[in-house]
Structures are given as C-alpha cells and as structure tokens.
Assembly symmetry: C2
Homo-oligomer: 123 residues x 2
Amino acid sequence: MTAYEKTCLIRGDGGRAVRAVLDRIGDTWSLLVVATLDGERLRFSELQQRVSGISQRMLTRTVRQLERDGLVSRTSYGEVPPRVEYELTPLGRTLLGPAVALAEWAVAHNRDVDASRASYDER
Amino acid sequence: MTAYEKTCLIRGDGGRAVRAVLDRIGDTWSLLVVATLDGERLRFSELQQRVSGISQRMLTRTVRQLERDGLVSRTSYGEVPPRVEYELTPLGRTLLGPAVALAEWAVAHNRDVDASRASYDER
DNA sequence: CAGGATCCGACATGATACTG
DNA sequence: CAGTATCATGTCGGATCCTG
C-alpha cells in the first residue's frame, strides 16, 4: 500500500470514518469491555469484576453504547433478582482484529514513547 | 491467535498498554495529523490546511504532544518570518499499520454501526 | 442484581485576540 | 508565520445515593 493510499484511507472524507470509530472505541473503557467479552458471555457483575477499576456507572454507559452500536448484545432474563448477560455480536468480533493490532503496537512501542517523553521533559 | 491470547494482549496489565495508546492517539486530531504527515514533510500552515477543520490551537497542541511522544519531529529554521516543518519519525511511521487497520475496519463496518444505531434509537 | 439519578471536578476543544 | 494567552463550553468519568 502506498503512502498516498494509506493517507486517503485514514483521512478519507475529512477523516470522518476514523473519527467515527475513535468516537466509539476511543474512550477509556469500550475497547477493554469488548476485549473482555471475547469468547465469553458475562453477567453485568462479572464484567465489572473483570474490567478492573471500572465504575458501575461507566460500565452501564459503555455497554449501552456498545449495544446501540451493535457491537454487544444484551440479554435480560425476566427474573428476580435480575440477571443480564452480555456477549459480543458478530460485528463486535470483527473489531478484535484492529484492536489486537493496536494492542500489539502498544506493547511493542510504549517503551520508546515513554523514553521519548522522558527526554523531552528533561528540557 | 486464541481468544485468550487476544484478551490478554488487549487487557494485559489491566489494559494499561492499550489505554496508553488511546490516550495518545484516541483524541480528535492526533491520528489525522499522523496520517497527513505520511510520506510528507509539511510546514505548520500546510498541515493546518490539509487537516480540515483543525484550529490553530489544537494543531499546536497536537503536534507538541506527538513530538513529545517521539512520533513526529519538528524542525525550526531560524528565519524571519518563521519556518517550521514537521515529519514523521521512524517510530511514528510504525503507527501507520495499526492506524490503517482501524481505518479499514471503519470504512468496512461504519454502515452496519450506523444502521444498528438507527434501529436502536427507534425504540 | 442491575441499574437510574444527581452532583461534581477535570479536561478537551473551540473562538478570539495578541506577539516575536 | 507560527505560535501563546485567555475565556467559554461541553463532555467524560467518578462518587454517592436510590430502586424494582
């Protein structure tokens, strides 16, 4: 792929496509929730336990948005006490590829970035 | 790659690696600026023209952070009027791979997401 | 158990005006 | 030209309390 093709792909339509995707999964929790649901069907409380540090409010908001975007499906059983389970949709699973690519970049290069920051901040 | 390996990669260390990356490029402009600099060395004003809609202030902040993170290099020629050029560093270029993967996902699936949103919002 | 409602502080972004 | 300074606004995320 040429540089021109890449830049067109990312910047296409004024960058609207990429911005749309980042608006969806660029927040603090969405990608972590999606990754956590990979291959598993989890209840709300289980999800909260596995995504360490997420508040109840943010988990609620995150799964709502993921559900709205069609990446996660929500199943509520009409029981008392309530039981609600979440899982990835087929569409949600397709996101794992790019997400893994990003994660691989992170683990491969975060040290370089941190080093660069440190040397920049010295000045 | 198994689901377990993926989830570990993304969620590893409490998701710190992915969060770090998203903190850097998950904002509105960083990824667009990086993509715009792909294969080109541009002056501040050229960059602002090509990244449509970015304000002067946000471009300044964005390139500063990208420079600090070692993804972009800044060259200031001591002239009057000032001339400053930006280009990707080798590290910055490595980000283009994951970025393209994300962009491809976006153009491939944004319609599905929009459709899901529309049907969700009907209710 | 799975949330909804409310309040709050921090930060991201933008508009505008100014400067070396 | 390439910024900096200041002000305003909106959103993100957390803490806390309440409920069917």
